[in-house]
Symmetry: D2
Subunit: 141 residues, 4 copies
Amino acid sequence: LDSQLEDNVPAGFELVDTGTGFNEHFGPVYLDRQRKALAFRAASRHSNIQNVCHGGAIATFADMQILAVLSCFAPGDVHRPTIHLALDYLAPTPLGAWIEALVTIVKTTPNLVFTQAMITADGKSVARTSAIYRNYVTGGS
Amino acid sequence: LDSQLEDNVPAGFELVDTGTGFNEHFGPVYLDRQRKALAFRAASRHSNIQNVCHGGAIATFADMQILAVLSCFAPGDVHRPTIHLALDYLAPTPLGAWIEALVTIVKTTPNLVFTQAMITADGKSVARTSAIYRNYVTGGS
Amino acid sequence: LDSQLEDNVPAGFELVDTGTGFNEHFGPVYLDRQRKALAFRAASRHSNIQNVCHGGAIATFADMQILAVLSCFAPGDVHRPTIHLALDYLAPTPLGAWIEALVTIVKTTPNLVFTQAMITADGKSVARTSAIYRNYVTGGS
Amino acid sequence: LDSQLEDNVPAGFELVDTGTGFNEHFGPVYLDRQRKALAFRAASRHSNIQNVCHGGAIATFADMQILAVLSCFAPGDVHRPTIHLALDYLAPTPLGAWIEALVTIVKTTPNLVFTQAMITADGKSVARTSAIYRNYVTGGS
């Protein structure tokens, strides 16, 4: 079931190379560059004890919102460490749903990048999230 | 390497049954009931592109802090959905480190449970986190 | 100077009755019901040691965002206590500027109201804020 | 009544010079340097429509928690702008109560200062708050 669903990617989305480790298990993540939308298909590996998406899976996805902001995802691209990540969970996120984070770049300073996103499941709001990332132009914490 | 490290669990910790799905891949999580400390051994499956713990792995672990609060972890125990989760990342979390969340129950109301935790890696602060969970005594959102 | 500036209220805004106490000293707050925009004129009484708006003044204004959400501001209207308030400060807020909070109702449940706002000073983003208020339909929290 | 209460300052607290503007109306704030406790007496000028402390007054007080962290409050001391401020309101804060913020320096980096505080009213927890301030050692955002 999961694998069938994962073949079902809406037009306009391309696969993002998210590397190995924790992202690898999270599974494929897709980007619509025009809409600055990051997305994935909720599957059983993202589930919690209630058989909906685990809050930590949504948080992991939210932490990737910086990917939708960076213009280039080549391996040589500079990593932006997360300083702050906040999530409000608005509704359960059902398995099988197409999960999108519509990402807004709120502000970029020499040291910081502020982003926020509304996360939807098949178009219904399930979480809102805001984040502060360290920018690397001038080094610094 | 990972499996050797994971055999190395400090005294006072017992394995928590965290169920299947996203928690299963996260791997074993341990609880010291006396100290209300939740813990895991950072391994390569938790890594990000910088080869330290992924922010999402720390967030997933932070979302489990409610486990250290609930007195009973039996399968029949009532689930507390997360309403709000916030994390500030203080330092990189190295792989191989023993990660602990020292959890404080800040307040319990009929509808809400407020918790916070300081997360350390081998004793060094790496993240602070606060959360609001829905309580189930009176039903409600 | 302050009083001259305060006479300068853009079309579409009406004065909100915010009551006595802390709001009274904060001073006049205006609402554009169409745009769900809450606004005030930054004055010297809102200043900090750097002679820009105090972070606490912006936070106080942010805490009022629920006013832009409630359909009715009559004295008999039910109060919604704040559960959670978060602000990210993006830029200094100059005195004399017209400060607007464009408020979005993110989600309403029987027990909770989730809102967020972008706060601008003369059109430039200076803060983003999110809040969770207790709803009173079913009692609770 | 307010003025009588304000003469009632517990031993160990000294008056902090918080300057003019928004802080001036907020009124006297006290510091216990040993305990890193910042405090004020809740008065009618801090009230909301429910005749308890306004959420914005608590937020304003929370934004001052950096004062308890800085070792020196001389006028020449370097200002630390707030980047992030978050509050969870745990209980109503009654007027007349002695309000304390017990402040913890969580982490200091060249660019950032992370603090958090538990705010109590006559010893009862009423809010928890966390903040990120810009540090000025290396300049930066």
